[in-house]
Amino acid sequence: MNDTFDLRIGESHIEVHKFYGGTILLTVIIAVIAQSFFPVYISKAGILDLPLLITIYFGLSRRNPSTGLLLGTFIGLLQDSLSKTPLGLFGIAKTIIGYLASSIGARLDTEHPAARFALTAAFFVVHQAIVVLVQKLLLAQSQPLFTMKLLVATLVNSILAVFLYFLLDRLRKS
């Protein structure tokens, strides 16, 4: 759990990172609490999606689809439980994002800031699309798929992710 080891796929050489015990759980709880806490004082902070960034980060770092999707499920359900949305809305979205991030992280080098920015932006949009889709199909709630706010949120969260992921890298064992 505390070691870093290599994952070889074909001829590529991708490193799988490990974290200190309790680091992931603590990070997740802090992110979720911050997500529900910041907007109370900073209304503009509502544009952030810290649980999603955490899901993406640990998915890309752990590079295990099973643990990635389970982590996404946990974070999503926790976020749902702290919001007025029904349990499962963000759970489904983050489960899928966790799976995708882990799967892509196992194939690509995601350590470069540009790659992290691009991947975070892409996952953010996919996450939003899943949320809108679930709302429309399962909850009969119509939401626009693309808005200018989404574009801004995507950019802001992607920029934030570059710095956040840099800080989270400090928590790795190596």
Binding site: P65, S66, T73, P86, G91, I96, Y99, S102, L138
Partner: protein, 318 residues
């Protein structure tokens, strides 16, 4: 058990986790579905939505099979039912024909009665045709009235459409009528508009022949031919027919006249019970006088007699 590859395992895990959360959503969410406004759980809506297409397809398939069975295989009773319905249809058709015949007969009798009431001073009797000629060379009919009703030889016979013929023999309860189309028949007639007089006789065919109209006289197809009263059998201005063909001849025109009365479809006729010259009442003149010649009301036309039949035109012979 067969071990799944790690990648597939995670896919199954993803599907399972997502499905569980979808169910979790379904349990929580209620949506307005009922007509009375009550809410039902989303999972129930989904279940119904998921199952109903199969139910609909099943019902459609069963319906098709049932229809196929009923329409193509289970026909043992259908043949009997079809035969029964066919017989019933035939009986109904026969009844309809009888009713139509009775209705037409009632109309004709009503017209005759109306005419008789309007011409109360004209002695006449309504008779039913009970027979026709026994040979092909003559045009004769038999009526159900005879001497008992005052019918005598040479009395005129008409219908609401026009002249029919004259009585050639009278018996106690029946009489024999020579139709206009017979070769030996004839009636004093004239062209309604030009007042050109000439007898009209039969030729043993459906059309009549107007015999003595000079080549210099103007006669056109469509001119109406009426009785002239000169034969002292028929009153003046009864419709005889319509000119259907005009050709120049050696001395006289060859004029063909289509009879106004439906001589081949006679069922009831009127026998004029006098051989004296008759005149119709002014309020019931020969119809078409005004129409025939508005500028000269005195000139009649060969149209159905007013009060006799104005609901349907006279049927024409071919």
């Amino acid at each position: 058990m067969v071990a799944l590859p790690s990648r597939h395992r995670s896919l199954f895990l993803l599907g399972g986790v997502v499905l569980l959360q979808v169910l979790l959503l379904a349990i929580q969410i209620k949506t307005v579905e009922s007509a009375d406004g009550s809410k039902s759980r989303l999972i129930r809506v989904w279940s119904v939505s998921a199952v109903s297409p199969f139910e609909r397809s099943g019902a459609w398939g069963i319906g098709r099979v049932r229809d196929a069975w009923r329409h193509y295989f289970a026909l043992s009773d259908t043949a009997r039912e079809n035969e029964s319905l066919r017989r019933e249809n035939g009986q109904l058709k026969l009844e309809v024909m009888q009713l139509q015949g009775k209705s037409a007969e009632a109309d004709r009798l009503a017209a005759l009665l109306n005419f008789k009431q309007k011409q109360a001073k004209v002695p006449m009797v309504v008779a039913r045709v009970i027979g026709s000629n026994a040979d092909a060379n003559s045009a004769v009919i038999y009526l159900d009235q005879g001497q008992h009703e005052g019918i005598k030889k040479n009395m005129g016979v008409i219908t609401p459409e026009g002249v029919v013929g004259k009585v050639i023999e009278s018996y106690r309860d029946t009489c024999q009528v020579l139709l206009l189309t017979d070769r030996d028949s004839g009636v004093g007639a004239m062209i309604a508009n030009s007042r050109i007089q000439s007898p009209v006789g039969g030729m043993g065919e459906p059309l009549l022949n107007m015999k003595y109209v000079g080549n210099d006289d103007e006669v056109k197809v469509g001119d109406r031919v009426v009785t002239s009263g000169m034969d002292r059998i028929f009153p003046k201005d009864l419709p005889v027919g319509v000119v259907s063909d005009v050709k120049p001849g050696n001395s006289f025109k060859q004029i063909r006249v289509r009879p106004s009365a439906s001589l081949e479809k006679l069922e009831e006729v009127i026998v004029l019970l006098t051989t004296d010259p008759l005149s119709l009442k002014p309020d019931a003149p020969i119809a078409g006088n005004a129409a025939a010649s508005p500028a000269s009301p005195s000139q009649p036309a060969a149209q159905p007699i007013s009060g006799l039949t104005n609901s349907k035109p006279a049927e024409k012979h071919p």
